[in-house]
């Protein structure tokens, strides 16, 4: 067999290169699509988009009223000055899973890194691909409005010591795939506990009462119990009732879910696949009832 003539070889190389770039391109497109889905499942839109009809998605601006002060969600479009332009996947992973900014400063836990710490590597990559694909918007977020004792982000290092245990999600092999997917969505990506779990004096989550409802939730709202308790929780709901609420916003009795949940349903759970909504329902139905 003779080697191809140099001209043919060049064509072949170009063809291989083209195929490779097509594949890379298709891969990137798939990653961006996956990232778009994860941004919904992660509830990013609800906080990082200002609360007005003409707001640019993810360009920041929503005010979050908490017992510890008012926080303004930053711009996470890829603008290099006011957003996250220039961030690597490693920067994004560190921010999401450790609560540390590229400049080494700590985020406040109003950004749910204690939940996001479980996010898998592949999901960080996909989130990065999607966020980089957005149109950069120049919009500076307002400074947080905090009491003096929280004005230094160094305080958060102490807070982390007591309230933050970093670590990736590890599936429970004694449970089925739906439960594990539900656990990943509820505990990590969807960060349901940030509102539905009560907090200790330091503002950390009280994990002995996971998802057992929070009498002092964001904006002063009373956040309901999601455990299987028959009276305070959702013990009387079927898995389908839960999935139906997450899709439509309607409670089993025909009433609508409360105001902050309606934003979560609109931005997040209504846009999930039916399988992911069922997975969340499977996980919640397997919770133990909250103790009185």
């Amino acid at each position: 067999m003779t080697a191809p003539a140099p001209g043919r070889r060049r064509w072949l190389a170009a063809f291989v290169l083209l195929l490779t770039s097509l594949e890379v391109h298709a891969n990137l497109a798939a990653q961006i699509e996956r990232g778009r889905y994860l941004v919904q499942a992660g509830g990013c839109l609800t906080c990082h988009t200002a609360d007005r009809p003409d707001a640019i998605p993810l360009a920041g601006g929503r005010a979050l009223l908490t017992p510890f002060g008012t926080f303004y969600a930053p711009n996470i479009t890829p603008d290099p000055v006011t957003g996250i332009g220039g961030w690597t996947d490693a920067d994004l992973g560190r921010a999401l899973r450790e609560g540390v900014a590229p400049d080494g400063s700590n985020y406040y836990p109003v950004f749910p890194y204690p939940a996001y710490t479980g996010i898998e590597d592949a999901d960080v990559t996909a989130l990065g691909a999607y966020l980089r694909s957005l149109k950069p918007t120049r919009q500076q977020a307002k400074e947080h409005d905090l009491p003096w004792y929280l004005s230094s982000r160094l305080v958060m290092m102490g807070w982390n010591f007591f309230n933050f245990s970093p670590g990736r999600f590890t599936p429970d092999r004694s449970r089925d795939a739906a439960w594990n997917r539900g656990a990943y969505l509820v505990r990590h990506l969807g960060h349901c506990g940030e509102c539905h779990t009560p907090r200790n004096l330091l503002g950390g989550l009280d994990h002995s009462r996971d998802l057992a409802g929070n009498p002092a939730g964001p904006d002063g709202e009373k956040i309901p119990d999601l455990t299987q308790n028959q009276t305070t929780g959702i013990g009387q709901w079927s898995a389908d009732d839960i999935a139906f609420l997450l899709e439509t916003g309607l409670l089993p009795d025909g009433d609508f879910a409360g105001s902050s949940m309606s934003a979560v349903i609109e931005d997040n759970t209504a846009r999930l696949t039916p399988g992911d909504r069922q997975a969340i329902a499977t996980y919640l139905k397997a919770l133990s009832p909250r103790l009185p």
Partner: protein
């Protein structure tokens, strides 16, 4: 004899109807009535959503539920008479406070206008209009319930 029975019956019925029209309503009955109308609205919302999300194939009845919601939604303003703040109710006394009247009446008016818009949009087969009206209706429901309804712990 027969004529006598008939006369007595008719007189009784007339009395019952005129009593309904004139006698003051007992607060307990007004609360019962409020709950009945609220439950009817919730049932029509459920049915509407089941059709709208394609869970059941009853498209031809979407209009019935939208019409019912508009009729019931127009009743909001008569469901909270004075004196119905105590008893077997989850309505918070805040509703009857002077400083709340503007806010409360605004939500009650939103219930009426949004449900009327929903009826008209469904009748005209205007899907974006119906979606916007339904969203506004849902905001009036939960706006009121978030602020004025007692919640369990």
């Amino acid at each position: 004899m027969h004529r006598l029975v008939r006369t007595v019956l008719v007189a009784g019925l007339v009395a019952a109807f005129s009593a309904g029209a004139t006698a003051a309503t007992a607060p307990a009955d007004a609360i019962k009535y409020r709950k009945a109308v609220m439950a009817a609205m919730a049932a029509h919302v459920s049915a509407f959503v089941l059709i709208n999300f394609g869970k059941v194939d009853q498209q031809e009845y979407l209009k019935s539920h939208a019409n019912a919601l508009a009729d019931l939604g127009a009743q909001g303003k008569v469901l909270f008479p004075a004196g119905t703040d105590t008893g077997d109710t989850n309505a918070l006394p805040l509703i009857w406070k002077e400083q709340e009247q503007e806010q409360f009446n605004k939500l009650i008016a939103q219930l009426e206008t949004s449900s009327a818009r929903l009826r008209d949009a469904v009748a005209a087969n205007d899907k974006p209009g119906a979606a916007a009206a339904f969203k506004s209706l849902s905001e009036s429901c939960k706006g009121c319930h978030d602020r004025y309804q007692k919640k369990d712990d």
